[in-house]
Amino acid sequence: MIPIRDDNPQVSVPWATYGLISCNAAAWIFLQGAGFGESFEPSICEYGLIPANILGDVGSVGKGTCEGFTDYGLLNVLTSMFMHGGWMHILGNMLFLWIFGGNVEDAMGPVRFVIFYILCGVAAAAAQVLSGPSSSIPMVGASGAIGGVMGGYLMIYPRVKVHILVPIFIIFWTFRVPAWAMLGYWIGLQLFEGMISLNSTGGGVAFWAHVGGFVAGALAVFVLKDDELLFDHPYHGWTDSEDPASIWDDPNNRQN
């Protein structure tokens, strides 16, 4: 299930979204060698987030495969958000950020959006660390922060139609579903897989980071959204937004 676009008009140029995508791309190319070469693995260990490191548990479990690499402490929470584990990882993340980020940014402006994004990333990291505090597997990826963007999107634009691409062998199906269905399905899946992964010790997708980011985004958006900007979005909220000038249609609001 791949979202390809949404029926939500972009009102302002989403500079922060462009900036974040550029930062991710730059980190991928310049710090991670685009997934090739010698810098790739060290980049994951150095800039990734190792839960055991954060909670000071490293003494008992060791750094595992990342033994001997520099540790930036809490700064790793931030740096891990811009690292990725492979081409599909970064392309998938950037696709979601591209589709959902712009409209969330429309609802709060670029400065607030960057704060929102980082906040969601931090919450995502916290959720993942708490779900496996003794893990020595480095966590990388923008998914947690982007999970937050999706949580925010769901709260603001639940009714907007999202175009979904479903590849079945060589046939590509596209259809439109409301954002609440697509994002509801997505978070349900993360929760389900997160539950399953609780007992596993291996690496893989950081489902709890997705859940943590999503919940943080769904909550933080209420603080950071700017209702005055949302007037430009005809499809925001669960009900049709009224023309603000229709308040004067009431005879009580007119000069007698």
């Binding site: 005055e228 430009d232 603000p244 000038a245 308040i247 004067w248 007119r254 000069q255």
Partner: protein
């Protein structure tokens, strides 16, 4: 009779013509000509004497809206069609100069003898196709309304809809008594730069500060006008008790009107 463009040397004569009807208007006209000049104004002459005046002023921030200004004929020449000719001349020049729509303010004042002194003028405007768009009740004084008549000079062009909305950060800075009125006030406002968590719209509290300031100064009523493409103004204005008076359609540009609001200071 000869109609020619007015110049600075005509100001005294023109003020004299207006003064024969309305002393207050004569004073206002003198200061207006002093401040804004005599361009787009014309005088009617008979044997070298100025006996009538008409003209208009284009509103700079609009797409061709203009206000008809002082239109008077010396009392002893009234009823001879001179006012109509002057008025016709003004409209023709406004069309040539690219004006799209002309507006004129007129009072419904009735003097002590029960005579509606602007009735003839109003009839003349109507005969030229002007129609009343906004009536602000008790504008000049209790019982004296202001009618704003308008004529679309290019009625076939139609209006565009769905103009893009704007959200300037509007803040009120002062209140002032509207010229020629008794106790009707308005707010001065400015557009400022938005700070981080600041709201763009003014709030009900902001409006109450202004309304209370008017009340303290002994004001009777408050009139505000805003562009129609500012979606953030409606909720605070209605919540603070303002009523919609009406709109001057396409005043700023096709599809962007001037909305008129009133507050009678009751319940403050």
């Amino acid at each position: 009779m000869n109609i020619r463009p007015m110049d600075q040397s005509d100001i005294d004569d023109v003020v004299g013509v207006i003064d024969s009807h309305d002393e207050d208007d004569a004073e206002d006209a003198r200061s207006d000509f002093g401040e804004s000049g005599t361009e787009t104004h014309w005088v009617a002459e008979v044997n070298g004497a100025v006996i009538g005046i008409s003209g208009y002023r284009q509103v700079p921030e609009t797409h061709g809206s203009g206000w008809i200004s002082w239109t008077y004929v010396r009392e002893d020449y009234c009823g001879k069609g001179i006012g109509k000719k002057l008025f016709q001349h003004t409209i023709e020049h406004a069309i040539e100069a690219g004006a799209q729509k002309l507006f004129i303010k007129v009072s419904n004042y009735v003097d002590d003898d029960g005579k509606s002194i602007y009735q003839n003028a109003t009839k003349m405007y109507e005969s030229f196709g002007f129609e009343c768009e906004v009536t602000s009740k008790d504008f000049y004084d209790e019982g004296e309304d202001q009618h704003i008549y308008a004529k679309n000079l290019f009625p076939n062009l139609g209006t565009e809809e769905d103009k893009e909305n704007e959200k300037p950060v509007v803040r009120f800075i002062d209140v002032y008594e509207i010229a020629e009125t008794n106790g009707a006030y308005s707010f001065r406002w400015e557009v400022i730069k938005k700070s981080f968590f600041q709201k763009r719209s003014f709030t009900i509290d902001d409006l109450h500060v202004g309304l209370n300031a008017v009340k303290e100064r002994g004001g009777r009523i408050v009139f505000l006008t805003f562009l129609s493409n500012l979606p953030l103004i409606h909720s605070p204005l209605a919540s603070a008790g303002f009523k919609l008076v009406g709109q001057l359609t396409d005043y700023y540009e096709p599809g962007v009107h001037e909305l008129h609001f009133v507050h009678r200071l009751e319940g403050l």
